[in-house]
Symmetry: C2
Subunit: 510 residues, 2 copies
């Protein structure tokens, strides 16, 4: 099934969002006909249809791969050519937000971003905010009217932050397509998720064939096990998001030669669907909810430090992935030849503590995981361990691929929006690591309180004002030959992107 | 180094705790000469020296392997032959505790146990409570007096619960020897742990050679990395405990042919050392602190459900471990041949959610992980995924070994006893799964309050009374053709063992 869905999305991409040819059999899923939101623009494709104010680049003019790779910003910023140049200025570092006029982002979402201070030529962050309609796969195939008992399709709301590295191509591709993969994955689930009964164990073999009915569950639960494991609706949405990330990554792998999918990106994605907020994170961006002044963490960072044991286990089980250059053991610093025979602190894939071991020849290899904090690296190269892309990433001056150690799978956390009555000051804040490198959860909560209390609760511009304040606060001002914060510490020289999503208030669910 | 230490412990075992021959070189560690507590009795060995009231089996009479395998209880219970027979009675299920006369367990620790209701012929739980002295390895090797600047050895307090399965041999061996392995691992650390400076990066090549001095750190921290990772004293103790578990498991593997090390066991171990409590858990026993009526979880259970993704990843990376009989994919129940071609719910090693996949021929294999709750199994065989032993465990009616999927490594949690002033009602409760199957944290906290408040705070028998109440409460009474709790639910038919360790009060640190 995964392959089929990938083909459908790939078709959608290569056709530039135009409707695919009429399927020859009910087997073939249609990827576009029920989409209300604009289809994404595709690399090297003609312009997608315009008029999607909230789309990320989907209404952008067609660009050659070179132009695309050079610089683009989310369409919802509505930047003029002059604005684009301003946004690309490392010296001025002007904070960008959607214009205060015209159509707002869904839920009155706030957004702000700023380019780095010279770390890379262009801003490698990308962002996307969309409302995506999902119709049952079946209807588009048969063309027949829905049975009375079958439910309508549904919308999901979608926000994505993509923090690129080693080029902007992966982040841009993900910002244009990841929500489409999620949409594809959800098509099978349209009826199931709106049916109060537990999900059926089996579906008919053909997605889109009309025989699904929840009354049967198709196969009786009796078998060699005494009972059948219960699967929740929520876990189906989580599985759909997880598989969408994997398919997005596979698509990048397949199309990296045809299109300039350079580098990789962290992906932090929020899906609101049927009353629940799903926060999916693969990388070192972070999401928190600030509710009634309190912080609720909604993601964990995936770095060489937090994923050390996973990485070491893989190196231990598949030593061929380490070449002759790396050891899966960790040492507090690199072992030097003169230390052969001494006993040095180490830990392996099973240990959280440290012990001493006698240094042998192969311990002189470079450790798979080394360094601390922001300097921690896998194979001395990359500082994040989950994300999309990086299929071409090799160890410096070597042919050893790093991708096998990186995971494209997000961790998904769920927040039930119906379990709590939210006020207009309750927000979900998403930020790339440029924000979190120089601030923390409680400082962000303080800024939330300070900025939102300066605006009327029903003023929809307050959330963009908050996003701007967060980005400005993390960027600092250009004093003393560097961007500095009020406490004279260095501000973030990285790209910074922030979404502020209100969880209650007038803008919601609209 | 690990091999050397294992040899030392093996020697200790095979010599029955007698002092080893004078080492021929400073390389050979001595495992016994600085031990204050009694050396453990060894399988097939002559009786260990008597007089260790708190030892677990260490003062037990010599038994043939057959006798040992048949039945033994912790020595600190001081059971007479008649008492031993009573403790082995599945019908009566008399709760056993140390006698209220004579020498108490360290810290006035309370203990109680009861045999199962017929699940296995004998009680397969074992327990150990010891005070273990650790002297520097160096002294015992050189025999020379310590330099003035060098510190004295130290004691650690030790409690262990071992929940055996498929035989009692592994649990008994672990109860006799695991603390000796911990002692061995700590010998290198005697000076380091008592030195306020950070642990040295390197030690001289020979454990026991006299050149360790913390001033040098031997190698300068400058190298290709900008800084050297800081390693804490605490993490050295954790590493020592982790390696001790591994060495214990290796010893079981090596000696399983010579001695009757049948089955395997979960191990829940507490080490108190230099102000901190280390709780190490490998299996499905559980430890909680009840402090001022509040529950602080001190362990997590390791079961096919909690370790699903680790198990599936191993099966995915090493499919040869699955033979032709198992699939690493999980399904809500076993797939049936007639479901070929349908799409069924599944999840793989990367997913926490569920999705649908088309059933192919190899999905008809049995899932590596199946079932729910107490019925969850790895390879349809075993319900715990960490512990010691099980080296002979095979899939039923197959030669496929299960051990590669089991981990002997504990998760270690640390509690700093000096950070809080504890009252006599604050306790650490350890219980095998027989306790937790029928009760929960908050019910245990209620029982702690109820029982302890009925005794004077300085009455040292209150902790054993509490352990007895917990075991009685989980066992129930023999009504209605089964052991039943007051709410008429079934009581635990499993072996039940409980330690109650007071964290404050008169009995402490003595």
């Amino acid at each position: 099934m995964l392959n089929r869905v990938r083909s459908a999305v790939a078709h959608l991409v290569s056709s530039g969002g135009a409707a695919p040819p009429r399927p020859k059999s009910p087997d073939s899923p249609s990827a576009t006909s029920e989409s209300q939101a604009a289809a994404p623009g595709a690399p090297k494709s003609p312009p997608a249809k315009p008029g999607t104010a909230s789309g990320s680049g989907s209404g952008a003019p067609a660009k050659t791969p070179e132009a695309r790779a050079s610089f683009s910003r989310p369409t919802f910023l509505q930047l003029s050519p002059r604005g684009l140049r301003r946004a690309d200025d490392h010296a001025g570092r002007v904070v960008q937000s959607p214009p205060d006029t015209g159509r707002r982002l869904p839920w009155s979402t706030g957004y702000a971003e700023v380019i780095n201070a010279g770390k890379s030529r262009h801003n490698e962050d990308q962002a996307c905010c969309e409302v995506v309609y999902v119709d049952s796969r079946r209807r588009s195939v048969t063309g027949a009217p829905r049975e009375a008992s079958q439910s309508q399709g549904f919308c999901f709301y979608y926000w994505g932050l993509f923090d690129g590295h080693a080029g902007g191509g992966a982040a841009e591709m993900a910002s244009r397509l990841l929500h489409r993969h999620i949409q594809e994955q959800l098509k099978d689930l349209v009826d199931i998720l709106q049916d109060p009964l537990p999900p059926p164990l089996c579906l008919p073999s053909t997605p889109g064939s009309p025989s699904y009915s929840n009354t049967s569950h198709l196969v009786s639960p009796q078998s060699c096990w005494s009972s059948q494991k219960e699967v929740t609706h929520e876990s189906l949405v989580i599985g759909a998001i997880e598989n969408a990330f994997q398919l997005m990554d596979e698509q990048m792998a397949q199309e990296r030669r045809g299109y300039q999918v350079d580098g990789g990106c962290c992906a932090l994605v929020v899906v609101y669907l049927l009353g629940k907020v799903y926060v999916a994170n693969a990388g070192d961006s972070r999401a928190i909810i600030v509710r009634n002044g309190e912080v609720i963490p909604m993601s964990r960072e995936f770095t060489p430090e937090t994923e050390r044991q996973r990485l070491q286990l893989l190196g231990f089980l598949k030593p061929e992935l380490l070449g002759s250059e790396f050891t899966h053991l960790e040492f507090p610093r690199r072992v030097q030849p003169k230390e052969l025979g001494q006993r040095m602190l180490y830990r392996d894939q099973n240990m959280t503590g440290w012990a001493y071991k006698k240094i042998e020849l192969e311990d002189l290899r470079f450790p798979l995981v080394c360094g601390e904090g922001k300097k921690a690296r896998v194979m001395a190269t990359i500082g994040v361990t989950r994300g999309l892309g990086d299929h071409n990433l090799k160890v410096c001056s070597s042919t050893l691929p790093i991708k096998p150690f990186l995971s494209c799978f997000p961790e998904v956390q769920v927040y039930d929006l119906t379990q709590y009555e939210h006020c207009p000051d309750d927000v979900l804040v998403l930020g790339t690591d440029g924000l979190w490198d120089v601030t923390n959860d409680s400082e962000v909560a303080t800024t939330v309180d300070r900025v939102l209390s300066a605006y009327e609760p029903n003023d929809p511009s307050r959330y963009t004002a908050l996003a701007q304040a967060l980005v400005l606060g993390a960027r600092g001002t250009p004093r003393d030959r560097g961007w500095r914060l009020p406490n004279n510490k260095l501000g973030s020289g990285d790209d910074i992107s922030v979404f502020v999503i209100p969880l209650g208030g007038p803008g919601n669910y609209s």
